[in-house]
């Protein structure tokens, strides 16, 4: 009986691609069936587009979240890709014949429930095979046996036999095998229906994994009923550029190979009819790279490398060196025996940084189109590369340029990149600003990867453009936010993305949350964030006025709750002083806030004795800084807080709060230190020790310079010259003093 030609291949194999093309030339088929989702056959037209450059990948993804996706990568040396190209060149019909993508995704979902062991079993066969043949690993085994096969015949039989044997070793062990059976039955059905449509069987060429050849020979075709019973999910598909780097990490359908750039060399060499050329190309490319990066590499070394590689191959009865031989030769002759010396060159030559290209408007999702359109409008196309590059943005308006677009180019870029960040697309990473608080400058690191492309496609569920998707994502997140700090963050993000409607939407949610909020530090933080947006909003050309009422609201609420919140323990006091500092900054910056209210709150806190003394001290410090407390009032307050009879920890706590701010002005006030000195004089031995411990803590975060100034102040009060003070501070402590200090360690804190 006449049979269709079942051509077994290894995915991503230059040898198979080369043999396949010869086979096609010989058979001149009327129909080519390729292993791949049968509902994606339309993508073939785009794949063959003259402007499309591999590596490319077909991607199918579920339409509901969580998005699941499946990838079919093609490189120039993929047998499948070459089959499709051949078909186009010879005007021969060509279709994919495997299960539709929706069925694959559905099966994948099921498999996630039951973990997959398939890989480990074939891997163990692969490993044993390499062990038996004495090859380093399976890739080397395969390359030595199959990739250098340029003989006229035998390849097809050998590969089919390999697949058959492998099948014999592993089939029937796993759930995956059930899938294989289903797939093969489906493919068989496609083949049968092609034959029934009147094409002579021997004029049909089926390109499939070597593993499937036996299955396709023996399997019964799937019945109509069975086809209908296949589970399926709703899915869409798209094409995307792929990268050699990603191929080398072996992700996606049909795995990949470790050295795509080298395999491309091999493919080109085979096409030229001179397999050995790959050896020369590989070693000269390494040498070139080494020279470019300043490592002397002579032609003599390349020649020696070629000779060594060939004699290494000879040891294995091979005429053409394989990758392992080439790399070892390069290490020995150019790397002085160390791989590390040529590691970069090897990565460049074996993996490379090639990425694929798709012309505009070709079967992409609209969000992909939008992404690339923006990329070109914002002149970011140079960053569509597999190598990370930095980008510095200056958001200020550029003067002296013609168009508005040019003047704000960097601002638009920033908004675009922030939108990508919101969509969690790893195309751009925002970096640390070199200049602190330079809100006009941003540093980004940009790197295009297939992963980023996949994330873009996944974002297609959220909207048709980057902007609408980002807006949708932010709204969704705003609705889910539970605290005002989360909501504030979203307002800020929307602001950075330059999306006023989303800002307004998120503000509404923030307002709702703020009404129920009671924690002063949360409110202060939110108020501060919003205040920054108001202050620098015009930089992003957004109207900040909608933010003002909310800041006022947060501010007033904070003022009302702050005094009672200050009745707290030492741990909470720190966050409260931070909140006070924030509120003070906010109050200073905005005229629409009532300053009087803030001052009176502070005076209240500063005066009251029933609050945490650190908070009171800090309130006094703010008032002092703003000139609301006079010299006299300060000294009176100091005398009241630091007097004998008040527990030392309370007094020192107050002083700690006071000294948190404007230290220089405190140090300059000699009268203050005189009071401190007088206070210390009133204490007896036990009280002094106690006070010492707490004061020491109060001074803990003073800088050495500040401590020195304090010491000099006290020295002046005690009538000691600065020189003597310096001497006293600098000299080694005596044993007696050490003992005294040691004694303080045993201080009993239990009552605090």
């Amino acid at each position: 009986m006449r049979q269709p030609v079942l051509f077994g291949v290894r995915h991503l194999s230059p040898g198979a691609a080369w043999q396949l093309r010869r086979k096609l030339d010989e058979v001149k088929p009327e129909l080519i069936l390729v292993e791949g989702p049968s509902d994606l056959s339309d993508a073939m037209i785009s794949i063959c587009h003259p402007k499309a450059k591999p590596p490319l990948a077909m991607m199918a993804y579920t339409k509901e979240s969580p998005v699941q996706s499946i990838l079919y990568p093609f490189s120039v040396y993929s047998p499948e890709y070459q089959a499709i190209l051949w078909a186009k060149e010879h005007a021969c019909p060509c279709r994919f014949m495997d299960l539709p993508a929706g069925v694959f995704l559905s099966l994948q979902r099921r498999r996630q429930v039951e973990p997959d062991r398939e890989r480990t079993t074939t891997d163990s066969v692969y490993n044993r095979l390499a062990e038996l043949s004495g090859d380093e690993d399976h890739d080397t085994f395969w390359e030595r046996r199959f990739e250098h096969w340029t003989a006229e015949d035998g390849y097809e039989q050998a590969v089919s036999e390999f697949g058959r044997q492998l099948r014999g070793c592993t089939m029937g062990v796993n759930l995956e095998d059930a899938e294989t059976v289903i797939r093969e039955a489906y493919m068989k059905r496609q083949i049968e229906s092609a034959i029934q449509s009147g094409i002579a069987p021997e004029r049909i060429v089926c390109v499939c994994g070597a593993y499937h050849v036996e299955g396709l020979e023996s399997m019964e075709p799937m019945t109509e009923e069975e086809v209908r019973a296949l589970p399926s999910v709703n899915c869409s598909s798209t094409l995307m550029p792929y990268s050699y780097y990603r191929l080398s990490t072996r992700a996606g359908y049909g795995a990949g190979n470790k050295a795509p750039a080298y395999f491309e060399l091999l493919w080109r060499a085979m096409e030229e009819g001179n397999l050995e050329a790959a050896t020369y190309w590989y070693l000269t490319r390494i040498a070139n790279f080494q020279r470019q990066y300043g490592n002397m590499t002579s032609s003599a070394e390349v020649i020696e490398g070629v000779r060594l590689a060939k004699s290494l191959a000879m040891l294995r009865n091979d005429t053409v060196p394989c990758l392992q031989d080439l790399r070892d030769a390069a290490i020995t002759c150019m790397g002085h025996g160390q791989f590390s010396e040529i590691a970069l060159a090897a990565a460049d030559t074996e993996i490379g940084s090639t990425i694929g290209e798709l012309p505009e408007g070709i079967s992409r999702t609209s969000i992909q189109d939008d992404f690339y359109r923006q990329l070109s409008q914002l002149r970011l196309e140079a960053f569509k590369s597999d190598i990370a590059k930095p980008l510095d943005l200056d958001l200020r308006e550029k003067l002296g340029v013609q168009s508005e677009r040019a003047a704000f180019m960097d601002l638009y870029r920033s908004m675009f990149l922030h939108r990508l960040r919101i969509l969690r697309i790893d195309f751009a990473q925002v970096g640390q600003n070199r200049q602190e608080r330079a809100t006009w400058a941003e540093t980004w690191t940009l790197r295009w990867t297939p992963e980023a492309e996949i994330q873009i496609v996944e974002a297609a569920l959220l909207g048709d453009t980057i902007a609408s998707a980002a807006s949708f994502a932010l709204r969704e997140r705003a609705e889910a936010s539970a605290s005002i700090s989360q909501a504030t963050e979203i307002v800020r993000d929307a602001f950075l993305c330059g999306m006023p409607e989303t800002v307004a939407y998120a503000l509404g949610i923030l307002q709702g949350l703020a009404i129920d909020e009671a924690a002063v530090d949360e409110m202060a933080r939110a108020a501060e964030q919003l205040s920054i947006l108001i202050r620098y909003g015009d930089l992003r050309r957004l109207d900040p006025s909608p933010l003002q009422p909310l800041v006022s609201q947060l501010f007033v609420r904070s003022c009302l709750t702050l005094p009672s919140a200050c009745n707290c323990d030492a741990a909470a006091a720190n966050s409260l002083t931070d909140a006070m500092e924030r509120l003070n900054t906010v109050a200073l910056h905005h005229e629409f806030l009532e300053e009087d209210r803030w001052i009176s709150v502070l005076l209240d806190i500063s005066d009251r004795d029933d609050l945490n003394t650190k908070c009171s001290g800090f309130a006094a410090a703010i008032l002092l800084e703003r000139g609301k407390i006079g010299e006299e009032l300060l000294s009176r307050e100091m005398a009241r807080r630091l007097s004998r009879g008040i527990p030392a920890d309370l007094g020192a706590g107050w002083f700690e709060g006071l000294a948190k701010k404007n230290r220089l002005s405190l140090i300059a006030r000699l009268s203050l230190w005189r009071q401190l000195s007088e206070y210390l004089d009133t204490l007896d031995e036990g009280e002094f020790r106690r006070a010492l411990v707490f004061l020491r803590r109060a001074f803990a975060d003073f800088s050495p310079k500040e401590k020195n100034d304090v010491a000099e102040n006290l020295g002046e009060i005690w009538g000691i010259s600065p020189l003597e003070v310096a001497d006293a501070v600098m000299r080694e402590s005596t044993q007696e003093e050490k003992d005294l200090l040691e004694g303080l360690r045993d201080f009993d804190f239990d009552d605090i």
Partner: protein
């Protein structure tokens, strides 16, 4: 006692004569000019196997690929430079390569600070030179000279210990493949098959660094310390067995457990971390190579055989370890003590006797 058996250490080609003969008898592949067997047979000789019923013992265990590279280098008549830490079997490999390829591993120049250019080229029998004037008869040929004449392999040990002018003398030999003798107005062309295997020590870097010009004439293969515990134990066991046979040590071979302990200690101190990678260890100044582990065990066997029960005790081992690890009293002593207390002490009962014995020497 036969003449051969009196010799302390036979050259490789005599020690493994049977294996070499078996390989030559079974030869089927192409033999390069000047070689005694095909490159594949050389590989089998070094990495072991079976040929026509004769078991070929592995000479170099570990990285088979490195051996392939070394042999391929010699096939292309390039000179081979083996680099590695002390005790990574550089000389051992070089000797066996020469033995297998030429059946003669004795053309050796030992590189020292006192090696002169004459050792590489030729010198004269001065009495004859004065009596009869320069002639071929008055000439004393260096091993390299003889190798060139016969188309075989000369070995240069520790090349980086030679002064740079001596190293330079090699450059012209390696690039021109001929040696000129101006006194006799003649040139000696190297016969096919001539090559040089040199070894150099990474720890000697900077003593007499090799010039770029000379390095360029060698293919460089770096020999690593054994990659894993099992390989290293295998090497140690095989070599100790071979040594004890040669030296009549009168002691039982060290037990598996003893070898494991020694190799563990050496690997941990060398790698500066415990085998499980959980704890940092301070490395002593000396090189704790596999070769040292072998000689340590052989020493312990000698101790046990001559002064003890014939079985290696923990005390013998402790004494050996002390000598191997503590090369610089103050610094190494501290590192060793730290290792004893921080690592060995916590290893449980199996290690306790050894710990106690070591601790006794390091109170």
């Amino acid at each position: 006692m036969a003449e051969q058996e009196k010799i302390q250490r036979l050259p490789a080609e005599q020690m493994f004569q049977k294996e070499i003969q078996a390989l030559m008898a079974a030869e089927r592949d192409h033999i390069p000019t000047g070689w005694k067997m095909s490159p594949k047979s050389v590989l089998t000789y070094i990495t072991g196997g079976t040929v026509g019923g004769t078991v070929i013992t592995p000479k170099y265990v570990g990285n088979r690929r490195l051996v392939e590279i070394a042999i391929s280098t010699l096939v292309t008549d390039r000179a081979l430079l083996l680099i590695g830490d002390p005790g990574t079997a550089k000389s051992w490999l070089s000797e066996h390569l020469a033995a297998a390829i030429n059946g003669d591993s004795t053309k050796v120049v030992q590189g020292t600070a006192g090696t002169t250019e004459e050792h590489i080229r030729y010198s004269w029998n001065y009495a004859m030179l004065i009596a009869k004037g320069p002639s071929q008869d008055a000439m004393l040929k260096s091993p390299v000279y003889r190798a060139m004449e016969t188309g075989s392999i000369a070995r240069i040990e520790e090349i980086s210990r030679c002064a740079s002018e001596v190293q330079d003398a090699l450059i012209s030999i390696l690039s021109e493949k001929r040696l000129s003798v101006p006194e006799l107005a003649m040139e000696v062309p190297a016969q096919k098959g001539f090559s040089i295997i040199a070894t150099a020590n990474t720890r000697d870097k900077g003593v007499n660094d090799m010039s770029a010009a000379l390095k360029r004439r060698f293919n460089i293969v770096v020999l690593p310390a054994p990659a894993d515990m099992a390989t290293e134990m295998e090497i140690v066991k095989t070599r100790v067995a071979q040594l004890s046979e040669g030296f009549d040590l009168n002691a039982a071979l060290p037990e598996e457990d003893v070898v494991e302990k020694v190799v563990t200690i050496f690997r941990e101190l060398r790698g500066e971390t415990t085998l499980d990678g959980k704890q940092k260890v301070k490395a002593p100044s000396g090189v704790l190579s596999t070769a040292e582990a072998i000689s340590l065990l052989a020493n312990s066997m000698a101790l046990a055989g001559s002064f003890g029960s014939g079985v290696i005790t923990d005390e013998d081992l402790a004494a050996g370890l002390q000598g191997a690890v503590v090369k610089d009293e103050e610094k190494d002593g501290l590192a060793w003590k730290e290792y004893l207390d921080a690592v060995m002490k916590k290893r449980g009962s199996r290690w306790l006797p050894l710990y106690k014995a070591c601790k006794e020497l390091n109170p």
